[in-house]
Symmetry: C2
Subunit: 308 residues, 2 copies
């Protein structure tokens, strides 16, 4: 059975998911986060459902084996869009959260009272292709018009260190957002955990009447409510005896130095040097834990259960 | 022993190496190319030496096992810069070619007669960090001043399908190239196999007096000479009985459809749908072939030899 002292396991392809880890740490004092960045195989946003599901399955299995988390958060929109339904099924009854649902819910609420509201989403190519946002928003606002735009240069620009005031950032964002602002959107979902770093310039381009939505806080809220409902919230007195950087321990599949150097920008504070996990270890981990895990069957039986 | 009928094995992280495959097919009628694009784990340009070497080692081992190539070409500047010396050592006496040496040689020749010529190189972050171009040019032109600039947005822009006349392409290239044109370079190496797709706009920005160098043709020339010297050139009469697309067979670790759709732009003709090779197969391949292959020892003994 999960225990209130267990950590929350946050998974991302790289650094972007730290914006979600940050929201969780802020919303939930006393919780500890184990963060996994798959930096050897990033980005996920240009890859297929099969490949991304396989990568994330390995990481979930590794996390269960090494850290016994009480909850798992897939803090990457692409991985949430492509892999979440299948992995929830495979790893049931483990609580696995994604970032697409919270963002879609916030957008549906924020889009205003007009029934046929227009809602924009910017995301990676793979997230757009998955139609996960169209489905998630569509079930809540059946008459909403949903416009989804892939914006593949944003992550490389952020990773390159380009800031809000860079003229290339402005030009690229104006080009990407034009097809959405032309449609009179009332809400815009930042459908990738990197994008909040450009929120100020995005807000300026779309105008103050458009509600810009970052799903990290909504996601943290979901986790907080479910932990409370299950009696699994950490003892908040823990918060007083831990520094921010003691509350998060990070693991990466490549280049711990680069991760440590850039983490502050996403997290708001510095982290200790992450531990390196070679990608081949992940294959071994799932091979030993779940012999049938490579199956791509949507109706597969649960393969792993939380340690009793 | 290698045989003249064996194929040439060309390795890249994705599509870019097809510009090298194209040069080899054009220079060497009658040769067959087996092409491997590691599309599940691309790009290599932001990753470490250790990770890129490990990925390419697996692919070389897989290629030897399945295709018995007479030569191997690492058609990716990042992989050439980071992994080539070590893999040549591990797989000796297999002939493994890279694309850094040919580009550096062409630049040293093209930079003009002034002894202290200025030579520019644009490349990925990892290639720049490796200092492979500085070393390779420096040994040939000891007094040359070498300026190397990382240009991480170019590959994502090309993969997004942005063409020469896109104003964002022009703005990004002008920004990247300014620090080089300010230095009065006489030659500019396109240090990534994607970049030749922007050669016309790059040439326009740097001016007609700067020699823009694409290492693909130099690399094909190296392969051709060595095959001839070793008596391993294919029978040129083969060229008359094969279509272009019959001369190349491709393997990818993700998304064969996307590869097939975009290949024409790099290769100049269409290819058959590539065969999918799951990344975990590569780990198994090297596990069984070379138990000690995970060693990162620069002085390791050769691990694999060409099948006798």
């Amino acid at each position: 059975m999960p225990h209130r002292g267990d950590p929350i396991f946050v998974i991302d392809s790289g650094l972007g998911g730290l914006t979600v880890a940050r929201a969780i740490l802020a919303r939930l004092p006393g919780e500890r986060v184990v963060y996994f960045g798959d930096t050897a195989r990033l980005p996920y946003g240009s890859k297929t459902k099969q490949t991304v599901t396989s990568f994330v399955r390995q990481i979930v299995a590794w996390g269960l084996h090494h850290h016994r988390p009480k909850h798992v958060v897939i803090a990457c929109n692409t991985a949430s869009a492509l892999a979440l339904p299948q992995l929830r099924n495979e790893f049931a009854p483990l609580a696995i959260w994604g970032v697409v649902e919270p963002g879609a819910r916030a957008a549906a609420q924020a889009a205003g009272t007009k029934e046929a509201a227009s809602i924009g989403v910017i995301a990676t190519e793979a997230t757009v292709r998955s139609e996960a946002y169209q489905r998630a928003i569509g079930t809540r606002r059946r008459l909403a018009r949903i416009f989804v735009k892939s914006t593949p240069l944003l992550v490389p620009m952020i990773e390159e260190g380009r800031m809000h005031d860079d003229p290339i950032v402005e030009l690229v964002l104006r080009e990407y957002l034009k097809s959405l602002t032309d449609r009179d959107i009332t809400a815009l979902v930042l459908g990738c955990t990197h994008y909040p770093l450009y929120a100020p310039v995005i807000q300026r381009i779309v105008g103050k009447d458009v509600r810009v939505i970052d799903s990290a806080e909504q996601c943290a809220e979901d986790v907080a409510r479910r932990l409370a409902a299950d009696g699994l919230s950490a003892d908040p007195r823990q918060a007083q005896v831990m520094d921010d950087c003691e509350r998060i321990s990070a693991y990466v599949t490549d280049d711990p130095e680069r991760f440590q150097r850039l983490a502050h920008r996403f997290l708001g504070f510095s982290v200790d040097r992450p531990t390196l996990v070679a990608p081949e270890t992940l294959y071994q981990s799932i091979d030993s834990a779940t012999p049938a895990a490579a199956s791509d069957d949507d109706h597969a039986e649960p393969l792993l259960r939380l340690p009793a």
